[in-house]
């Protein structure tokens, strides 16, 4: 297994951040499901339920990744990793893979809640499972952009923040439309979603790798 992935998994499972994220997701989903059940309308709490999941997958988890990258950069660990033979590209890819694993771990926590909501009645299981899958798969896209942000200078960070403010809601909209759209309308957003996800990840990771070289590791490739 790749070293960064092993390190990130080991570290994160013991980190306070991951405990907080886990408890936040667990408690919020329990509360939302309980409220939906008590008013006999799980469907009425769908938006709250998925906002809790999406904010965890697309904001809290990527934020933990950039925090970890930021600490590594401050402590000079990137240089040691580079001398050990891990290239900037591998470093970026492996961090994003680690983020995907974290997201999968939390997705396995969300899954029983989705099934429970189905048994309580009023939701479309297929659409909700599709949305959970798309949210999980899109975590690396958002994570890559976050990582790109941490590896740039001040102006770069500002520009990427603006990019995130405008494009993240749009991307989230396409993700929702891809999962919950019906008939012919479901096909078009899904194609856009696939295209944006692949291109977005590639561009963000390329810039993040370049950023690791330029801003964290001086100039020797």
């Amino acid at each position: 297994m790749n070293p960064i992935l092993v390190k990130e998994l080991r570290q994160s499972l013991r980190s306070r951040w991951f405990e907080i994220i886990f408890l936040w997701l667990c408690s919020s989903l329990t509360l939302i499901t309980a409220v939906g059940s008590s008013i006999n309308a799980p469907n009425g709490t769908t938006i709250c339920f998925w906002i809790a999941v999406a904010s965890t997958f697309h904001i809290l988890l990527p934020f933990r990744t950039i925090l970890s990258a930021h600490h590594d950069r401050q402590r000079g660990n990137f240089e040691l990793i580079r001398v050990a033979g891990i290239t900037a590209e591998k470093l970026t890819n492996q961090r994003i893979t680690a983020l995907l694993f974290h997201t999968l771990t939390l997705a396995s926590l969300v899954l029983p809640f989705v099934v429970l909501r189905y048994f309580l009645g009023g939701i479309e299981l297929y659409s909700e499972l599709t949305y959970l899958l798309l949210l999980t798969l899109s975590a690396p896209v958002v994570g890559s952009v976050f990582l790109w942000q941490v590896t740039t200078g001040t102006i770069g960070r500002f520009l990427i923040s603006i990019l995130l403010c405008f494009l993240l809601p749009l991307y989230e909209f396409f993700t929702v439309a891809s999962a919950f759209g019906s008939g012919a309308a479901a096909g078009a957003p899904f194609v856009v979603w696939i295209f944006v996800s692949i291109i977005g990840t590639m561009i963000a990771q390329a810039f993040a790798s370049e950023g690791f070289i330029l801003h964290s590791l001086t100039s020797n490739p």
Partner: protein, 334 residues
Amino acid sequence: MSAPEPIVEVRDLDRRFAQVHAVKGISFDILPGQVVGFIGANGAGKTTTMRMMATLERPSGGSIRIAGHHVVREPAAVRQVIGWMPDNYGTYANMNVFEYLDFFARAYGLRSAQRRARVEEILDFADLTPLADRPINKLSKGMGQRLCFGRMLLPDPQFLILDEPAAGLDPKARIEFKNLVRILAQQGKTLFISSHILSELGEMCDTLLFIDSGKIVYHGAAEQLRRGNQTTPNGLASTVQIIDISLTGDPASLLDWLSLRPGIKLLDKRRDGARLELSAGDDEALAILLKQMITDGLPLTEFHRVERKLEDAFVDMVRGLQTPPPLPGLNLPS
């Protein structure tokens, strides 16, 4: 028998930053198995030079070859033969000593059983086996340095670059560190160590390299420097021996004897002896001087060469370089 090929060849190495010319065209070689001390004041260019050797900084000019590989053109090959220990070792939260070494062993490409065996070997070597489960952010400075030392040795590198490894260590940790260096030197590793603690470097290293304002001002044996090599403002070395003698009876006999020998300077006079400076004195000149003193009937009880502290040698050298040479044709008042 032909001389061994140098493991490190530095040629006209230059590094400029925006406002600072940190390294100014330095050149030197390091032979396999040598333990080289790299000495210089803060900002002299030590860390920049070491970082360029460790493939972490691109030179502005010149070249560095390590084990035949060019650091800019073949950084991956260079990284396989070097070990790098920066002045601040990296720490990770939520990770213990074993996991830290295991992570770097994976990064170096060591596989399962081989990796575990190597990590255990390193833990044993650095005396960290009892601390294997301790979180690394709970280690003392000395333990952390040993861990960093161990990390550097994971891929069994030929050439080790250590930037200020003894900084901030307590006396016990320093002794442990010196022992580790001694063991590695015995194993035939080549070490390049920078430090401010010159006396310690003198004990550990067989060769010293002094850098000042980005230029190499001395490259030679520590022993030679202690015995009295001094550097003139133009960078040339001249040999001066300091001798301490003790004698019984009236010291006036010594003064009379010295008055007949202009090549020997009286530095310090005591009731029971004196300190003398012998210019251009090699070992043979010392032997002749001793023989002459005895032949001339001086009642000697002690005769020994005074070794200079490396700190003094370094300060003299830098001071000598800062003294501008007189302008040609200008008669200075005496």
